[in-house]
């Protein structure tokens, strides 16, 4: 097998001859030339002036807003639509501040040739980073246009009105934005202050504007990267090893290359793929190739049944992220509890997909990656191409819920595309690829203890053990394919994500007012299974632990769990969501407590920085089968300035149902050599028969306040509320996730008589 052909020789790239010029226009903005991708937006501001949101890293106004001479207005964001509705919300912000209708705006999302580098679309950051930047940039652009019009019309700016993309004077004269804009006007850096519209005068923000992407999605439009059909496009599939640790010994590639329609078998070390003219023959060729491949070796996985013990035994780097234990000596009764979570998967319904096109000019990759710039950097390193020879364009994919196979399949497509230059290669993973090879949310353990004295918590400790929650690219060694190449790349050493956002320790510090405590993050560098960011990172487990432990303590104190929370919470916005959820749920109403039914409550402020979410819900527990069903859910959320209340509601509803699925059903299966969760049959998730009757979401809008990240905020409170409701229904406290039928049945035991909890 010949080595992987490259479009450009390594020497020319290393020597930096710069002979290749990309066919697409590179942005004239400074940010487009930045060769390195900052891992977090805003880490290194270019200006000492504090700037809101992503203006920190991309301060130029025309990085966000451009006005053409014909009046067309284009909004740019480095964030990507993941199904969270960000396109619509960002358009609403721009429309409001610019006084241009949503429908008249064009939005360009994450694209290394066109948009700012906003890192990853992750961590519920899009509204805070990009929404804030667009808010301020739009307001400033409008002011610049008005100032120019004032000069042209000889009318003070204060007397001019804007609407529908026009500026009008009291005397009836008016100018379109395109008539007053100049080439230089928007090349300026944003000013520190923005003339934001008074929230009371808003007509677009704060309204449930319909999602701009839904009509195409429900009418068969080309809505996803999976749907793209480029001229001359061919199809690729990858043969993954039977075990992640296996290496390819031999394969009769020629036998597959002889199949009709097969263009190329690509082998580089243990990376094995096939390219064919059409998709179904490509899949058949991939299967033939898989049958012919001879592998050796395998992973050496720990025992899945005792993964929590393995997690506790692995070497860890321990950091106290909070320690106030010098504050007195606690008196009272001490309680302890231990919580576990298995590996869980993102489980996108649509397996990951990318299209790569290699030409003499360079490589273009259409991808549903959450970070086009970091992906570009990783691809450049893997392929030994200069970053400016690669363009990564975000196109929507199936929902990802974190770092799934999106980047990996982009690397697969790039490797295959270089083998068949000038033909766009579309690669979609098979279901079993997605299940077995996506990076999972890590297995975790949390141990909590508290001292209770006269109904108050007087001491609190929280120890959490976890792998990293980000192995996202930026480095080639974070791309799956790169691990299998003849000259493989090593994953960079994992590092803990720093507080205050944190990774495994995200939300490990309670928001409650506690006089004394210690919170320790036990960061485990060794990764038995490949892991990365799954929606909410460690917050799901930490909030699950804190909020179920709060219920245990409330029960021990003989205090209602909602009251107990309020007794320990000073944050007024947190108190508001708790009381709203409790009121709307009817928590204080007398209830008819029937056997097998229970109710539970959960609360958190995501990352202690983002949205506040409280969830109250009812469950039924079937004693014979062990099945838990969530029957009714009421949630309250404070996302700060609620740009699109229906979008927030949609996200919270989704978080509640997805967290219900995690909490009741999900655990990645593996034996000592490989992953055994290969399909939905081996990794059951929520279906319609487990869906609650009503789910109500109440929004506490805070117009004019900062946007608070919302997308991940419901995961933890929901999981905790379910466990609390199961305890309420059965008297038995379950602390190991998931609360599946076997666990519930085992915990309840054979006797129908109630047991004391």
């Amino acid at each position: 097998m010949s080595p992987l052909p490259h479009v450009v020789s390594r020497r020319s790239v290393v020597a930096g001859t710069g002979a290749l010029v990309l066919s697409f226009a590179l942005s004239r903005h400074a940010f487009a030339q930045q060769p390195q991708e900052p891992q977090n937006v805003g880490e290194e501001p270019r200006k000492p002036i504090p700037q809101p949101g992503s203006l920190k890293s991309a301060p130029r106004l025309d990085a966000w807003i451009r006005v053409d001479a014909d009046g067309r207005v284009t909004v740019f964001t480095g964030k990507a639509e993941l199904g969270q509705g960000i396109k619509t919300a960002l358009l609403q912000i721009a429309a409001e501040q610019l006084d241009v209708p949503v429908g008249a705006l064009t939005l360009v999302t994450a694209d290394t040739a066109r948009t700012a580098n906003e890192g990853y679309t992750a961590g519920s950051h899009s509204m805070q980073d990009s929404g804030t930047a667009i808010l301020h940039a739009s307001a400033q652009v409008r002011a610049l246009l008005v100032a120019a019009a004032a000069q042209r019309l000889g009318v003070p700016a204060e007397q001019l009105r804007t609407g529908d993309g026009r500026i009008s004077a009291p005397d009836g004269r008016s100018l379109g934005y395109g008539e007053v804009v100049t080439a230089e006007m928007l090349q300026a850096d944003a000013a520190p202050q923005s003339p934001l519209k008074d929230p009371a005068r808003r007509t677009v923000m704060g309204r449930p504007v319909r999602r701009v992407d839904i009509p195409a999605k429900v009418t068969g439009g080309e809505a996803y990267v999976q749907d793209m059909r480029l001229d001359g496009m061919v199809h690729g599939r990858i043969v993954r090893p039977p075990s992640p640790g296996a290496r390819l010994r031999d394969v009769d590639a020629a036998a597959v290359e002889r199949l009709p329609g097969v263009l190329e078998v690509v082998r580089n070390g243990s990376f094995l793929g096939v390219v064919a003219e059409r998709e179904w023959p490509c899949i058949q060729a991939m299967r033939r190739l898989a049958a012919l491949a001879q592998w050796e070796g395998h992973s050496d996985f720990p025992d899945a049944a005792t993964i929590d013990q393995t997690v506790l035994k692995l070497p860890s780097q321990n950091t106290d992220i909070l320690n106030t234990q010098h504050m007195g000596t606690p008196q009272g009764r001490r309680f302890e509890a231990s919580f576990t979570r298995p590996y869980q998967m993102h489980g996108s319904i649509g397996p990951s997909c990318a299209i790569a096109h290699a030409t003499a000019e360079g490589l273009t990759v259409w991808t549903h990656s959450q970070g086009v710039y970091p992906l570009r950097g990783a691809l450049a390193e893997m392929l030994q191409l200069a970053p400016d020879k690669i363009r990564c364009v975000h196109v929507e994919g199936s929902g990802c819920y974190g770092h799934n196979g999106a980047d990996d399949v982009a690397a697969d497509a790039a490797l295959l595309a270089l083998a068949v230059p000038n033909r766009p290669v579309r690669v979609q993973w098979m279901r079993e690829d997605e299940h077995r090879y996506e990076p999972y949310g890590p297995a975790m353990v949390a141990k909590l203890s508290a001292v209770l004295d006269q109904g108050r918590i007087v001491d609190w400790t929280h120890d959490v053990w976890s792998n990293t929650h980000s192995t996202r690219p930026g480095a080639a060694g974070n791309l799956l394919a790169a691990l299998y190449l003849q000259r493989p790349f090593m994953p960079p050493p994992p590092v803990p994500l720093p507080q205050p956002e944190g990774g495994g320790d995200r939300n490990a510090i309670p928001l409650y007012k506690l006089p004394r405590g210690r919170v320790t993050h036990h960061f485990i560098p060794d990764m038995p299974l490949r892991v990365s960011a799954l929606r909410s990172l460690g917050a799901y487990v930490n909030v699950f632990a804190i909020e179920t432990f709060m219920d245990e303590l409330a029960a021990a104190a003989g205090i209602d769990p909602v009251t107990f929370r309020l007794n320990h919470l000073e944050d007024s916005r947190g108190r508001d969501v708790i009381t709203t959820a409790a009121e709307k749920f009817g928590w204080s109403r007398p209830r008819d407590k029937r056997p097998g039914t229970g109710r539970g409550f959960g609360f958190a402020r995501y990352k202690n920085l983002g949205a506040y979410t409280a969830v109250a819900l009812d469950v039924t527990v079937d004693r014979d089968s062990g099945a838990v069903r969530v029957t009714r859910v009421v949630a309250a959320v404070d996302s700060g300035d609620a740009v699109n209340p229906d979008g927030i509601r949609n996200q919270i509803e989704g978080a509640i149902l997805q967290s219900t699925s995690w909490t009741l059903y999900e655990a990645v299966g593996f034996d000592r050599e490989t992953i055994t969760s290969r399909s939905w049959a081996d990794y059951p998730i929520l279906r319609f028969d487990g869906v609650p009757d009503p789910v109500e979401v109440h929004i506490l809008d805070r117009p004019g306040q900062p946007f608070l990240g919302t997308g991940e905020s419901g995961q933890g409170p929901t999981g905790a509320a379910i466990a609390n409701a199961v305890a309420d229904a059965t008297g038995v406290r379950l602390r190991d996730l998931p609360l599946n039928r076997e666990r519930v049945r085992t915990a309840l035991g054979p006797a129908p008589a109630a047991r004391a909890g």
């Binding site: 839904i214 009509p215 080309e222 929902g399 989704g654 939905w680 319609f688 009503p694």
Partner: protein
Amino acid sequence: MITLTVNGRSHEVDADPATPLLYVLRDDLGLHAAKYGCGFGQCGACTVMVDGRAVFSCVTPIAALPGRQIKTVEGLGTIEDPGPMQRGFIEAQAAQCGYCIPGMMMRAQALLEQNPAASEQDIRDHLALNLCRCGTHMRILDAVKRAAALMRSARGPDAGTTVATDGAAR
């Protein structure tokens, strides 16, 4: 050559008769709505209608389909003139990523064509074969109930006898 009738139009398809319908729809006929999700008939993202019944197109070979009526989301209406099922989903804003939605729509369409008065429980039972990972289930139920109401009103006042008993016409 195999002749397939899709959304009322006849197509000559040059493909191996064992090819699953899904790939012919997407790659030969340019109909993108049906999606690849699992290839095993476990998730329903590929659901289309054949002779009025919902089928998994990822496991249905085209050899079985000549002479049968295949319907996809593209046959329910257009972006300019969406049909009742599509309007139901738009009105309910029943999508997050939306990847599962075309499959949901076709299974729901098959149900409502057979039983215009389907109850919420009927809808839940039928849609249980289709997976949604974003957790859009509540909105999907709302959308299908809206679609049922739109279909009933389109059939005129006599259709009042088929109104569901569980408030489907909310």
